[in-house]
Amino acid sequence: MSNKITVPSGKVKAAIIGPGNIGTDLLMKAMRSDVIEPVWMVGVVPDSPGLARAQDMGLKTTAEGVDGMLPSMKEDGVQICFDATSAYVHAENSRKVNEQGAVMIDLTPAAIGPFCVPPVNLSNAVAERKMNVNMVTCGGQATIPLVAAVSRVQSVSYAEIVATVSSKSAGPGTRKNIDEFTRTTSRGIESVGGAEKGKAIIIINPAEPPLIMRDTVHCLTVDEPDQDAIRQSIDDMIVEVQKYVPGYTLKNGPVFDGKRVSIYMEVEGLGDFLPKYAGNLDIMTAAGLRTAEMYAEEILAGNFVPSAA
């Protein structure tokens, strides 16, 4: 991937499924992309403000769900879809758009495809030409890079993350199925973060004004932590995440206490459609777009032609 000589020109066309807060924020970010051109917004509620907004921005829209877009999506050149709906309908959505030759980037907790945390394993997913990738969870996107930053220095027997989000940024989907957050994030800490065992905790705080997303990462290393190497690795990783989430900030730490390494983070969003405090939602949309852009670069370079399996 890194050996391409010419800079590809043009953009890859994309569809966003789910015109809610996440879908709309994603749309606003995607409008600025050099390689992604959003052309479809797919919803299910005819008079939804999200669909109206997308229409105003020049996108084709449908309130018939994915089925409303399917007949013309190939003709319209859609090669990448984002699913910002719910875990319950994701599998069907994914099957349908894959059949039309589009890669699916899953922002729901369905996790039927491999987990993707851009600075850690995005290049693997793209290299393996995966037709469905999952963005884990907001807490996962915010913390797994740091677990990986420690585990690439030395073995981590256990990693635990605590994500604290404002009430206003925790949507009904998250609330109805909060176990999905803890389970999916734990699995991501293990499979992508590289910890032998992972645990995730989420706290919702209703304070006003809303608090900026906070994340704590605790790692237990197998041997005594190599403090200098871990500090450097964390600093490097934060720079990587800041490329797509500029408000990703180390607040305190790493604190070393025996074999415990604790890192205290704050994640401020860009404030596109979602308010700045909702860094938890911003990091999902930014990571989803970052993933799409990497696919798009490969597509534009002629290295990858997404197709029905």
């Binding site: 635990e160 605590v162 176990d179 706290i203 607040k251 604790s262």
Partner: protein, 343 residues
């Protein structure tokens, strides 16, 4: 206050809330011994879990001496008449933990959320309500932080998910009797008559007994306490004291007062690492409205970074932190130490 003839159910917290001052290190043997003695005294409900509920074993809250499964199966197997309850905080524990606890033999599950976030309990309460004979309780923590009307809406959500009992929980030990009366009375007026109301107090302002009596007067029929007060902060409502007061006032609890006093004195007090009492820091919790289990974390951070635990706790209150945010304490202490060094 005339409470004569009222019947209530008391619920002991030593083996769950009491895990906080014990840093979750109560042994299975101690739990079994205590639970048997409580059973013998006629205490109808005994909570047994990690202090932060099922799945609380963590760096953030502390790893317990044994797993929830080991504690629950041992205690459920040891009691004859008492029912065992487990606590679950969505975001920490999951329905998988709930199923495990039911398999161990619990009779009551209590699903706890911050007072404004009842909707995160839907998944767990709905699942719990599907079990025959399981007593399903919704538990709204830090209930001092919102007004009675707003609290009622959240209690009604929990009721709608299938809770047959809902709790108004004074996690910070901040409430005064009038606060309790206002919340319980409104809930009693508006909730289904068949829905029980409970009150869980902390003794940080020394109001555990007075608040529990106010709750009973306003219509609560379940009251949490812990023998000798073993619980977070300055402890829970000291149960043997509350039982003695109930006896004097003619409130029926069905508990043998002298036996309860003996369990408190002979078993619980000797277990304490430090005497659980209203001291400068636990008093600060109550005064500032801070989650009681932050106490030891603030003391440790104060020691490590050479700060005052009271200053840390006051700041945590000012920031309107909620239950579970223990990770905030070291983070905040680092900020405070930096500000001090810069000054």
């Amino acid at each position: 206050m005339d409470l004569k003839g009222k019947k209530i159910t008391v619920h002991d917290m030593c083996l769950r809330d009491g895990m906080h001052p014990k840093q979750h290190q109560i042994s299975v043997d101690e739990m079994v011994t205590v639970a048997k003695a409580m059973d013998e005294a006629g205490i109808p409900l005994i909570e047994v879990t990690h202090g932060d509920g099922l799945g609380g074993a963590s760096v953030n809250y502390g790893f317990p001496a044994n797993s929830d499964e080991e504690y629950l199966s041992a205690v459920c197997g040891a009691v004859k008449n008492s029912k065992v309850s487990a606590l679950l905080l969505p975001g920490i524990g999951t329905v998988d933990h709930l199923k495990m606890a039911v398999d161990c033999g619990i009779g009551t599950i209590r699903v706890a959320t911050h007072c404004t976030e009842a909707d995160v309990s839907e998944q767990h309460l709905t699942m719990a309500a599907k079990y025959d004979k399981l007593d399903v309780v919704g538990f709204l923590m830090m209930a001092h932080m919102i007004e009675p009307e707003a609290l009622l809406e959240q209690l009604q959500l929990m009721e709608s998910y299938g809770a047959n009992c809902v709790y108004i929980t004074d996690s910070a030990g901040y409430m005064l009797p009038d606060d309790v009366t206002a919340r319980v009375a409104l809930a009693r007026e508006k909730l289904n008559p068949s829905t029980e109301i409970g009150f869980h107090g902390h003794h940080n302002l020394g109001m555990g007994i007075a608040n529990s009596l106010a709750a009973v007067e306003a219509g609560a029929t379940r009251i949490d306490g812990s023998l000798a007060g073993l619980g977070a902060g300055a402890g829970n409502t000291p149960l043997e004291v509350f039982l003695a007061v109930c006896d004097r006032m003619g409130v029926e609890t069905g508990v043998d007062l002298f036996k309860a006093m003996d369990v408190a004195e002979d078993l619980i007090v000797p277990m304490m690492d430090d005497i659980v009492r209203v001291d400068r820091d636990s008093l600060t919790l109550g005064w500032a409205g801070v989650y009681s289990s932050f106490l030891l974390f603030a003391k440790r951070a104060a020691k490590k970074y050479n700060l005052s635990a009271r200053d840390i706790l006051v700041e945590l209150g000012r920031r309107r932190t909620v239950g579970g945010q223990e990770d905030m304490i070291e983070d905040l202490a680092l900020d405070m130490a930096r500000a001090r060094d810069a000054a």
